[in-house]
């Protein structure tokens, strides 16, 4: 059973991630007065990309990409999806926080190899943006860990089953709001879509990716999307015992993210950082203090 879960969980994550990508395009299309592609479109794209031949730019180019994808896949093992949580007992928050760095890092290594200025600008933006949201995110996570007195996600989830969603429990409200505010940045949707920014830096780190490489990068992107949403649902919206309900919760978060994506322009990276370090950080900090004050 555990083995099956080990295999099944990343696949499920991939599936949902790709589905979200397709649904995102569909929802965006409807807001833009059009029908949009079929939901399966990202899958078609990935099949097509896998069959194309593309040039590699060196060993690090390949390794970085694989590393990034593998890192993201591993995270999914530690994230409970409803009851499906193959390795959530063994790691906890800190492992996830650590693993979450691997994704961007792998991409950085890989696209750094391509020696395209757009890619390097994209990577620097990605790291900057990560720096931007990591600070409030860490504060939020600290507040959570302090409030629940644990670092295990499964425990946080199960504790929420008793207390209600942590977002709506008293000391964690501020942290919840802060998390909500940085969620678009973590998902990489507009107004924080600064990393890819096709109109500015030709899709940034992805600029030299073609064919199978782009397919892998797309999968990585889908996983990142999944991880971002799933983490938020687990930490703030109480997770779920039932995978279906968990999925529905994810769907709601996903729609929120897409709505934000649909109605805002992209910010400049400096504006994004300024925003992330100002309000969300302040609120998260206040939330942490609140938790510390009330919790002890």
């Amino acid at each position: 059973m555990h083995i099956i879960e080990l295999i099944f969980s990343p696949l499920l994550a991939l599936l949902i991630g790709v589905f979200f990508l397709g649904l995102a395009r569909k929802v965006m299309a409807r807001i833009q007065w059009r029908y949009g592609p079929p939901v399966t479109q990202p899958l078609i794209d990935i099949i097509r990309l896998l069959s194309q031949k593309s040039a590699s730019h060196g060993v690090a180019f390949n390794i970085g990409l694989v590393m990034s994808l593998a890192g993201s896949l591993v995270i999914t093992l530690f994230l409970p999806f409803g009851k499906i949580a193959p390795m959530s007992n063994s790691g906890g928050m800190l492992v996830i926080l650590y693993l979450m760095l691997i994704g961007p890092l792998g991409m950085a290594i890989s696209s750094g190899e391509s020696a395209n200025p757009n890619a390097s600008i994209g990577i620097s933006r990605k790291l900057l943006l990560a720096m931007g949201y990591e600070l409030p995110f860490l504060l939020v996570v600290l507040a959570l860990m302090t409030a629940y007195n644990t670092t295990s996600i499964t425990e946080i989830v199960s504790l929420q089953r008793d207390t209600g969603w942590s977002m709506f429990t008293f000391p964690l409200v501020l942290s919840g709001i802060a998390y909500l505010l940085i969620l678009p940045a973590m998902l990489g949707v507009r107004p924080f879509e600064v990393v890819n920014a096709p109109q500015e830096i030709s899709s940034g780190p992805l600029v030299e990716y073609g064919g199978p490489y782009l397919a892998l990068a797309t999968l990585q992107h889908a996983l990142a999307f999944f991880i971002g949403i799933s983490l938020f649902v687990n930490l703030m919206w109480g997770g779920a015992a039932n995978p279906v309900i968990f999925f529905l919760k994810m769907l709601v978060v996903f729609f929120l993210g897409i709505f934000v994506n649909a109605v805002f322009p992209r910010l400049r990276i400096d504006q994004a950082i300024r925003y992330l370090w100002r309000w969300p950080s302040l609120i998260a900090f206040a939330g942490l203090i609140l938790v510390c004050v009330t919790g002890s």
Binding site: V27, R30, Q32, W33, Y35, F259, V263
Partner: protein, 617 residues
């Protein structure tokens, strides 16, 4: 500027729940606009192959391609060329549609052609009803199959609109003396273009050169009109003189086959090519000074020309330029031949004839007027003394109807000739003219003028009787209209039966029968009449103008036997204009079915080449 907001933008989310506005092509299709500019359509029946579309195309996308299966009719201005489009060039501007004189080109609302082979983009447009394979009806049409060989039928888009045509369909009106005034005297009916009018009229020319093929003499019409447009009538005259040495005459009385071929006539009025030639000839006062022509270096050869009609004059001119000695014999007192006798003054004043003749004489052509071959000089003498002889005598003898008492009638040419002298005919108050051709019109209209001069204020009438009905009258429509404007009474489709005499043997009237048909089934002349439908036209003077024939009496019998004739007693000539008598050439009305001045000029041009090579053989 409103209030900046972060939440306001979210109002856009409402469109998530509304029906998208996308047009789901190809499942839903949008009809293209009624004026859409897509691929070309060309109605081959209307298209004349004038090539204006190819000329106006900014991208050289249109080339004219010869289609041998189409019959070219140069007299009607029809070529066997049709436009071929290259959609690797076309920019769908539709200028070709706006310039198309017959209006055969239009643009359809089809626009789909996708192929990997660039050669498939070259295409000869056809009418949608003419091509069943390429144009399919609605129910078989599929937009996914659409291409140049799979198009919708009845799908015309941008088409020609005369209000926005690039050419000007209306000619500049020739200033004319009104009928009431002109019928009182022999004043010239039209007054001629002034410079402004001429340039304005010349500007209408589309330079398609259909007229040049229609013209028997192949004048470079397009070029001389262009010269008039450029304000250089002298240059224009020079171009005219290359092919036609009697512009003052032709500018007035030419039968203008060119205008029948003009592409402007198809949806408007033909260009006034004749009047423009007249303008060029009239504007230049002194031909000698302007043309600066000299006879060619003397070759020592001598040519005799019998008849100083248009053909004889032209031949003399052409031969003189080649350096031959030319002697022209004519029984009249001046040059011009039939045009001196026939066309009335109000149409062709003698001064204009003399202008052309004088210029030719000034080149050194020897004119011997008042000299009749056979009477004053023997024909054999000409043949022996000259290196070549050209017969351009034309038709000089009027035919008679030979009905009862017809000897009491006058004959047209005699009548007209006498009017040109000082002793004009004495006319009566009621005149009948038999015939429906141009000569009959001349007779009738001259008679009308004479009546008005001699019987001013009295109630006079000129009646015309012709076998042919209105739509068959051989005279040009222009003449008929003008004659009717002047008040001449027409009796078409009546045949003369008998001239009625009074007790003193004077003409009292004409008994006519109603005509059933003029020609038989084979197209031969054999009139039939309704028995019993008769009518008497009152008239105290009758002129017969039913046709003319040649007078070969000057040729001795011995030679006459060697001369061969073709149909209708026309002389047989070879491609150089030489008759069956060696060294004797002929041209003009005695050779052609088509009897007019410009054809005679064309013959003279050919004969001049023929004589030249004959003499230098």
């Amino acid at each position: 500027m409103g209030k900046l907001s972060l939440l306001g933008p979210f109002s856009a989310i409402k469109f998530l729940f509304r029906k998208p506005k996308t047009l789901r092509f190809p499942f839903e299709q949008k009809e293209t606009a009624a004026r859409y500019r897509g691929f070309h359509l060309n109605d081959w029946d209307k298209c004349t192959g004038c090539g204006n579309c190819a000329d106006i195309c900014p991208n050289e996308a249109i080339i004219m391609e010869v289609h041998p299966e189409i019959k070219a009719v140069p007299e009607n201005g029809e070529k066997n060329e049709r436009p071929k489009l290259d959609y690797g060039r076309c920019c769908f501007c539709g200028l070709c549609v706006d310039i198309c004189p017959p209006g055969s080109l239009s643009l359809s609302r089809d626009y789909l052609h996708i192929h990997f082979d660039p050669d498939t983009f070259v295409f000869t447009p056809r009418d949608d009803n003419a091509d069943d394979k390429a144009f399919v009806p609605d129910e078989q049409y599929s937009i996914l199959k659409a291409s140049l060989s799979h198009r919708k039928r009845d799908y015309e888009g941008f088409s020609s609109d005369m209000d926005f045509a690039l050419f000007n369909p209306d000619r500049v009106e020739m200033p004319e003396i009104p009928p009431d005034e002109r019928k009182m005297s022999f004043i010239e009916q039209v007054t001629g273009y002034n410079q402004e009018e001429a340039v304005k009229e010349a500007q209408r020319c589309l330079e398609c050169r259909l007229c040049e093929e229609a013209c028997p003499a192949h004048l470079k019409i397009s070029d001389y009109i262009k010269a008039i447009y450029d304000g250089e009538p002298a240059e224009s005259l020079r171009i005219i003189y290359e092919d036609n040495p009697i512009p003052s005459i032709c500018g007035r009385i030419c039968m203008k086959h060119c205008e029948d071929a003009c592409s402007l006539r198809l949806r408007g009025e033909a260009l006034s090519i004749r009047w423009l030639k007249r303008y060029a000839a009239d504007t230049i006062k002194d031909f000698k000074e302007t043309l600066e022509q000299n006879p060619g270096s003397y070759t020592g050869k001598k040519v005799a020309v019998v008849g100083a009609g248009p053909g004889g004059l032209s031949l003399a001119y052409f031969l003189k330029l080649m350096g031959h000695d030319v002697v022209v014999f004519d029984e009249l007192s001046g040059g011009g031949g039939i045009v001196r006798v026939g066309p009335p003054r109000y149409r062709l004043p003698e001064e204009s004839i003399d202008k052309d003749v004088d210029y030719i004489a000034s080149l050194g052509v020897d004119f011997r007027f008042n000299t009749r071959i056979g009477r004053d000089v023997e024909f054999e003498k000409l043949m022996s003394e000259y290196d070549a002889v050209y017969i351009g005598i034309g038709n000089t003898v009027s035919r008679s109807t030979r009905v009862e008492n017809s000897e009491k009638c006058l004959l047209a040419l005699d009548y007209l000739e006498q009017n040109k002298t000082d002793r004009k005919n004495i006319v009566t108050e009621k005149i009948i003219v038999i015939g429906g051709g141009n000569v009959a019109m001349d007779v009738a209209r001259e008679s009308l003028r004479l009546q008005n001069i001699q019987h001013t204020g009295k109630n006079t009438v000129v009646s015309m009787v012709s076998l042919e009905d209105w739509d068959e009258l051989p005279a040009t429509q222009e003449e008929i209209d003008e004659a009717r404007d002047e008040g001449i009474v027409f009796n078409p489709a009546w045949g003369p039966k008998k001239v009625i005499l009074d007790d003193f043997g004077k003409v009292k009237g004409l008994l006519c029968m109603k005509v059933k048909s003029v020609f038989d089934e084979e197209g031969k002349f054999s009139p039939t009449f309704y028995e019993g439908r008769e009518m008497v036209i009152e008239g105290t003077m009758i002129v017969e103008a039913i046709g003319q024939g040649p007078d070969y009496s000057f040729i001795p019998k011995s030679l006459m036997e060697k001369i061969e004739f073709t149909v209708r007693r026309k002389l047989k000539v070879d491609e150089n204009g030489m008759t069956t008598l060696p060294g004797v050439f002929a041209g003009g009305d005695i050779v052609n079915i088509n009897m007019d001045a410009v054809t005679a000029i064309a013959d003279a041009k050919i004969a001049s080449e023929g004589i030249n090579s004959w003499m230098s053989r």
